[in-house]
Amino acid sequence: MWLLRAAAKASRATRKLTSKQRSERLKSEKKLRLSRSDTKSILIRSPEHFRYYGGRSVRSDFAVFIYDINEAVRSGKSVCIDLSSAKHLYPCGVLIFMGQVDHWLENQKIGKISAKYPGSDLAEQMLQSVGVLEKLGLPPRKTITHNDVTRWRHFTGMNVDATSMESFMIELRELLGEQAQMGLADCINEAMSNVKHHAYGRDLGGKWWIFATLSEDKVFISIHDRGQSIPKTLLDKPKLMDYLRGAVWWSGRADGKLIDMAVNSNRSSTDLPWRGKGLPEMHELTKPSGELAIYSRGGFFRFSGAESVCTSGRLSHPITGTLIIWMVRIKGTHDEEDNQHF
């Protein structure tokens, strides 16, 4: 694990070197991260933290881990993913890992993907419960009992179909009241619609993954797809300002602004006035005390209702598709007449 942290820190230091020095430095860092038994197979160690939303260093370690596996799969190597170090699994990281595992299994050319069990009981229970370990060839061996696992619900699909979430929605309604639960459900339905219509291009559709949980005073929902990304789909129909801003040529900072635009206006890839309401409604529901974070391609958008602050910008590690992380604070009373958070 210390090798991964060292690699991440070293990567930042390489920016001060010449390009030749940088290339040689990165090659040697990569050798430190990866163990080779032979040229056709590779063992890749996971980081301790499976997390995308949070500190830059944990995101960097996780992004490097995903990158290394992608490279190995792309080159046709047999990959063994050593999960023994995985300890702190967050919904955002688990969602991305779930999406990546499906992608690797669909795209492996020569050889195969395998894995070693996590060393942490909690990590093994979590990855077993979402089906990832079985996909990687590791039979289930735990009884799922840990509260940090059982309180999380996970859903996946390729259509706009909320029927699998009915029991969760009923539980939400009992806790939040009808109005708040309906508002959340509306936004989740719109998120699925967005994936179906926009994420994978030309209404082809594709997979989405959702994690959700309730605590005494908060609802957490994370949604992920591996589609084209919000900036890419918006730029399918670029406007004049996109050219003036240079956004039509890939730019992380511009991606952040495009996500901001998708959230704060009805702009959508269809350019139709009756479309594009999903992200604005999600944003609205987050006020006044919730939080919303959207990561897509090279940009991010974050909103804190408690601080009434929006920020957007460039990601140090671009993401495939889109990841939405959403926290809504539960109000004290049910069925309030005030509808302003719709």
Binding site: N159, A162, R173, D186, N189, E190, S193
Partner: protein, 104 residues
């Protein structure tokens, strides 16, 4: 003659999505299979929203805005024949806004 449509009982407790190709309980499916036939048969149609676990703007806009946009029913006709019944009045407001916007 009055016809009542309860979405959660006669269509789905979890309607979602815009088009039939999106999923099993879309706005387009609701409109074409239940809403339009009811409007054609009855003088008054009451759509009851209570009991459903969520809708989404895509579902509601396609189901009701689509009456004007796709089925070419006039807003005037809908104001005479269509009634929306819901404990949460915000849904009634949203639906009539979708109908108004589609009429422009």
């Amino acid at each position: 003659m009055k016809k009542i449509i309860n979405i959660s009982e006669q269509f789905s407790r979890s309607p979602a999505g815009r088009y039939i190709k999106d999923g099993p309980y879309s706005g387009e499916a609701f409109r074409s299979k239940l809403l339009v036939p009811a409007l054609n048969e009855a003088d008054e149609v009451e759509v009851q929203l209570d009991g459903a676990l969520g809708f989404g703007s895509s579902f509601l806009e396609e189901a009701f805005g689509g009456l004007v946009r796709v089925e070419h029913v006039s807003k005037h006709t809908l104001e005479k024949k269509l009634k929306i019944s819901s404990r949460l009045k915000i849904y009634e407001k949203k639906i009539w806004k979708y109908i108004s916007d589609a009429s422009v």
